[in-house]
């Protein structure tokens, strides 16, 4: 039996598990990753660098009541920018995201409850 006929036993790819891909995104995907020009990633890095600079200025400039929300907001934006664009979770399978966000969500829930138990926020 040739390799070609053996291949007939392999299930059709589309009949398998729903990988949760956006079909529009798949069209522009090769090898599971979209081809982006380097400048796309450089622009994101510049955005992240600006946010880091803004974060650092909070150490010297008094932002008053906006200090903590602004700092936490910038942290969250930076975190998800790296996860979605550099780690490609925005375009990759939803299953990968589910695995990661489950761990992240579990960690946040457990440790927020732990800090509440120790009256950290009081």
């Amino acid at each position: 039996m040739s390799a070609v006929t053996e291949h007939a036993d392999v299930p059709e790819p589309d009949a398998g598990f729903d990988t949760g891909h956006d079909t529009d995104a798949v069209e522009e995907v090769d090898e599971g990753q979209p081809h982006r020009p380097d400048i796309y990633y450089i622009k994101i890095a510049v955005f992240l660098a600006i946010l880091t600079a803004l974060e650092t200025t909070t150490y010297w400039v008094d932002f008053g009541p906006f200090f903590l929300p602004a700092l936490l907001g910038m942290m969250v934006v930076k975190f998800f920018t790296v996860v979605l664009f550099f780690m490609h979770l925005k375009e990759d399978s939803k299953i990968f995201g589910m695995l990661f966000y489950m761990g992240l969500g579990l960690a946040v829930a457990i440790y927020v409850v732990m800090l509440l138990c120790f009256q950290f926020f009081a």
Partner: protein, 215 residues
């Protein structure tokens, strides 16, 4: 069994007969249609969130317990830490450029970007070693207080992760330059990239919660 007319040049056939450098689409011949290696890496990173979550939460609890010794507000060198944070952030850029080059089958650019990423990581670890040494000279060691123990454990664990990442990057650059990787080279680079970006996002949280928010 009836023969099925399959274009012998298609990637599915090439995949089946074990061509080493063929393109792999998302629909792999696994039960999920996805790469098991990537699934395992994302699962690992999800579990790492729990590890670092525990370390960060413990530090948050103990950061005010410095037994009259120098505490966070006296020790932190924010300009140095900001530069370190910037360096690690830029290493994420060079890493994603390495992944991009690997998908374009450009081994030379992949090796260069991996090496640059490793160098930026080494700069970050060097700054951390300098920071730890300066704290020690100011009388703050690992067992000085609950604050120092939780701080050194948290940042030390992160530094160890960065160091492991550097070893992986350098090993990968060496293997690619000698053409020692058979199979889906881009996926190997991508897996190391995911790990590297993870240590970056952990530092994004540490930088804000540990260094920028006063104790």
């Amino acid at each position: 069994m009836a023969d099925i007319a399959v274009d012998p040049t298609s990637e599915h056939v090439a995949d089946h007969v074990g061509e080493p450098h063929v393109a792999h689409h998302d629909h792999l011949h696994t039960s999920t249609g996805l790469s098991n290696n990537k699934l395992a890496m994302w699962l690992f990173l999800g579990s790492e969130c729990l590890l670092f979550g525990g370390l960060i939460a413990t530090y948050m609890l103990y950061r005010g317990r410095n037994n009259g010794k120098p505490g966070p507000d006296q020790l932190w060198d924010i300009p140095l830490t900001s530069v370190s944070a910037f360096v690690l952030l830029m290493s994420s850029l060079t890493m994603v450029l390495a992944v991009s080059a690997a998908h374009a089958h450009d081994d030379r650019r992949t090796t260069i970007w991996l090496s640059v990423t490793g160098l930026l990581g080494a700069t970050f670890v060097g700054a951390q070693v300098y920071e730890f040494t300066s704290f020690y000279h100011e009388g703050v060691g690992f067992t000085t207080s609950l604050f120092s123990s939780s701080f050194f454990t948290l940042t030390g664990f992160h530094g160890a992760h960065v160091t492991i990442g550097i070893i992986m990057l350098m090993a990968l650059a060496g293997l690619i330059s000698r053409d020692k990787i058979h199979g889906n080279k881009a996926e190997v680079v991508e897996l190391v990239g995911l790990y590297w970006h993870f240590v970056d996002i952990v530092w994004i949280i540490i930088f804000t919660l540990v260094y920028l928010i006063p104790a």
